[in-house]
């Protein structure tokens, strides 16, 4: 193994002033800039930038032309402020940590401000249905037509139900409070974990910022079960590392880690699997090194407990997990073998201008490059046993490359890789943070050793760090949620995620529950599928090409009637706006059907909807001018 150069060693082994916060007074004074306003000042700045983004959302609702500009200015500067505080040499560690926490809180507030009166995103509505089922039945494990697997992982529902029932506030308010608390908990846990691994506050804070800005993290600011499970996964990893490194009382850390692992297990399947996998990886890594082999048993204890809990939960409570996760993986492998990979194309409408497409690709590439540099620096450090976990973590960051391969090669790779990125970011975020910290420390070291005439060079080099950070920020923003077509709220888009939800289709979905009762077989476009299953608690139908063709047909044909009767469809929901706009997601219907020719080919014409008015025996039960609900009973569709 190549030894680190003297300069490198000096840079990485000298206690950095920023880590201790004990900067010599004269040096701190020399470093002061007019914009060094202190932590309260940064709080004011970041709050004002949050206000700018909220004003942009407000402007979007009233279709103001300045709104997109305000949005981008607000978001970019909002990231720049904590990034500056974190990377500044003279910042104390509380300033770094608090600025990261403020950033997490502001992002959470912005996520709420997008839809401040109710959940509109389809995944959030699915989890709200699980919560409403618990509140109505007073028991877990109730059938949720919109997300059947969700009923078997009741952690999120239990905690939200407790807040609703104990305080009396609405489910939406309780859900938002929980999301906010979970976001803060994730940030604190990530800071603690990265600090434990990198042994540097600046690296931890920089890594946490990179982790928070990742495209995958926008999903974790929604009311979904991953949001609650993720902080517990990070805590398990932190506690397992503490147990491994503790001189005394490692059992206390191991017990706490196992307790946290239990919460992850009952809250979210993929996070629980990721937890078991990362713990096993960590334990194997520690076992392979003679210096840490003795302590690896502690991590094996936690890993073994997590695996046993996961297996027991899946076997006894949630056996559906196999089919829920197995089917998409099987499909992805088959697609990869058959050469039907997703490639580098994005989900329709996810990115607006071509530059957004390139930015979304640049983010992962920059992460890969910086991670590679970080791995090199970690492996050229002194081979101290206390750096064993850091080295294992550096290896873990290679999972990003694996995910990029899955993203390109596998069928449905966009969805699979996107979901798994959150767990990979735990490695890459940390390594990128370490690389940024080490690079900054080397710049300082070189500046100290050189004369003033070389001063401009480090500034140029520092701009590389700033540019990389900005690229990661922009990439995270353009490829995260909400997608480009609904980046600002206020414009109705047919079959958009949140922009396709408006009072007309909300009213129709809400009407269906008391009027029709729960669990009816209902078919409609994507928005109807999402809203009737969640707000209406109906058993909506999707994923059948023959049904899509039957819906689009302008006349009632025998094959169309067979498609409806084969799937026991009783009610059909139509929205006349599907005949006026092209579907913004590239398809009118639900599921991963953008590859399905039947769902994509052709637009829905007014005649296609009129056939339900004209077919004999069909009743029109509901009409609000936009949305209509038809009962097929007694017609050729349901003989």
């Amino acid at each position: 193994m190549r030894l680190a150069s003297a300069a490198d060693r000096a840079a990485v082994t000298t206690p950095r002033c920023s880590e201790t916060g004990n900067e010599p007074r004269s040096e701190v004074a020399a470093e002061r800039r007019p914009w060094d306003v202190g932590l309260p000042g940064w709080f004011a700045v970041m709050s004002c930038l949050t206000l700018v983004v909220c004003l942009a959302y407000s402007g979007g609702r009233s279709h103001e032309r300045w709104a997109p500009v305000a949005y981008w200015i607000g978001e970019v500067l909002l990231f720049s402020a904590p990034a500056y505080v974190v990377m500044r040499r003279t910042s104390s560690w509380p300033a770094r940590y608090v600025s990261v926490l403020l950033y997490a809180a502001d992002l959470s507030l912005i996520s709420w401000a997008y839809s401040p009166d109710m959940f509109r995103y389809s995944d959030e509505l699915q989890h709200q249905r699980s919560l409403l089922n618990i509140l109505a039945s007073h028991h877990d494990f109730q059938l949720n037509y919109s997300l059947p697997i969700g009923a078997h992982y009741p952690g999120l529902g239990n905690v939200t139900a407790a807040v609703v029932q104990l305080t009396g506030i609405s489910p939406f308010a309780a859900g938002q409070i929980l999301v906010f608390i979970s976001d803060l908990l994730v940030s604190v846990a990530v800071l603690m974990l990265f600090r434990e691994i990198t042994k540097s506050e600046r690296a931890a804070a920089a890594g946490a910022l990179v982790f928070l800005i990742g495209r995958d993290q926008s999903l974790f600011r929604l009311y979904v079960y991953e949001t609650l499970a993720l902080p517990f996964l990070i805590l398990v990893l932190y506690l397992a590392l503490k147990a491994a490194g503790a001189r005394h009382g490692w059992r206390r850390y191991a017990v706490l880690a196992c307790a946290s692992a239990l919460v992850t297990t009952i809250t979210h399947h993929v996070t629980a699997i990721a937890q078991a996998a990362i713990l096993v990886l960590l334990a194997v890594g520690l076992t392979l090194r003679p210096a840490t082999r003795r302590h690896s048993m502690r991590v094996w204890t936690v890993a073994g407990t997590a695996v046993v809990m996961l297996c027991l939960w899946i076997a006894l409570v949630a056996p559906e997990t196999f089919s829920y996760l197995g089917d998409p993986i099987e499909e992805a492998i088959r697609g990869a073998l058959a050469g039907r990979g997703a490639g580098t194309k994005t989900v329709a409408g996810a990115q607006g201008e071509p530059i957004e497409h390139w930015l979304s690709l640049a983010g992962p590439l920059v992460t890969v490059v910086i991670s590679a540099i970080g791995i090199k620096w970690i492996y050229t450090r002194s081979d101290d046993s206390s750096w064993a976990t850091t080295r294992i973590w550096a290896l873990g960051s290679l999972s990003l490359v694996l995910l990029l391969v899955v993203r390109v090669a596998a069928s449905g790779g966009t969805e699979l890789a996107g979901r798994a990125l959150a767990y990979s970011s735990l490695f890459t975020g940390c390594v990128v943070g370490y690389a940024a910290d080490t690079y900054a420390a080397r710049l300082v070291e070189r500046r100290r050793r050189r004369t003033e005439r070389h001063f401009p060079r480090p500034i140029k080099r520092a701009s590389v760090v700033a540019a990389s950070g900005m690229l990661l920020c922009l990439s995270g923003l353009v490829s995260g949620l909400p997608p480009a077509y609904e980046r600002l709220p206020g414009t109705f888009n047919v079959d958009g995620f949140e922009s396709g939800v408006d009072p007309a289709n909300i009213s129709a979905a809400r009407w269906s529950l008391p009027a029709l009762g729960p669990g009816n077989r209902v078919f409609g476009d994507f928005t109807a599928y999402a809203l009737f299953a969640t707000l209406g608690n109906q058993n909506t139908v999707h994923g059948d090409n023959a049904l899509y063709a039957a819906f689009k047909a302008t006349t009632v044909r025998k094959t169309d009637a067979d498609a409806f009767s084969r799937l026991n469809v009783r009610y059909v929901v139509t929205d006349r706006r599907v005949t006026e706009q092209a579907p913004v997601r590239g398809t009118y219907f639900a599921g991963d059907d953008t590859s399905s020719a039947a769902s994509v080919a052709g637009h829905i014409t007014p005649k296609a909807l009129q056939k339900f008015d004209q077919a004999r025996g069909i009743s029109r039960l509901y009409d609000n001018g936009f949305v209509r609900v038809y009962d097929l009973w007694g017609s050729v569709y349901v003989p």
Binding site: G38, P40, G41, F43, A44, S47, C48, L51, V53, C54, Y57, S58, R61, S62, H63, Y97, W112, A113, S115, S137, H138, D140, P154, G155, L156, G157, N158, V159, A161, A162, Q165, L166, T167, I181, L185, V188, A189, P231, F232, R252, L262, G490, P503, A504, S507, A515, L516, R616, G617, I618, S619, R620, L621, Y622, D623, N624, G625, F626, G634, S635
Partner: protein, 254 residues
Amino acid sequence: MFRRSLTEILAVALASLCCLVLMVSGAPLVLTIPAGLLLAFLPGIVAVCQARSEAMGGFARLAAVIAASLGILAVLGCVLTWLPGGIDRRSWALALLLTTTLLVVGAIARRQRCSLPKMRLPRPAARGVISVMVGVLALLGAVVVSLQSASQADNEPFTEISAVPAGPLHRAAVGSDATLMVTNHEHGFMHYRLVIVTRSEHVTRNFSLKDGATYEQSLALTKGGFTASLYRGDEESKPYRQVWLRGGDLVPQS
């Protein structure tokens, strides 16, 4: 003994008080919100206080309290679901009181003192106070702007009409009843005319609704079903909204 365990006993007393408030039916939100939140987080606070957490930093302690509280609620819900009372306010209150008590008893039995975190707040400078006030005002402004703009969003007005036959399967049968409902979402007061046409009769109803109000009418189904057309004000031509019940021209009730 009593003096040494004063903090622990205080925690149980506080949990009992919160539990009592939550047991009172019809307690106002100003009481239930603080009592509920305190009771939800009390087991977590007690657990972290007695877990020899003095060595932990402020951030770690904060994370530990939040994580312990959320974790206890998540697991407790899985236990409550198997009990006869299920998951409701009463069960939560009693379960959390019991959990707090057990944690306290455990601490006393192990002769472990519960130490509350000692917060060392920085001395506020005038410039810092002003900055914090500006920040808080900006955040409040963000909340107000978001709520106000969402409530005034440019949504298209509409009126909904529905016809739902009675019965468990909602199968329209001759002789059974159906319910007609009209709800106004037009953002203002509206006059409507409802025309119901069956094979044998033609009935007209005039009514007015304020925004958000609902008109409801029950009618008996006859063979051939009915068509209900809704007109706005004095409009004569095309119906504004229309529903009908046919169901294979309606089956005779057996």
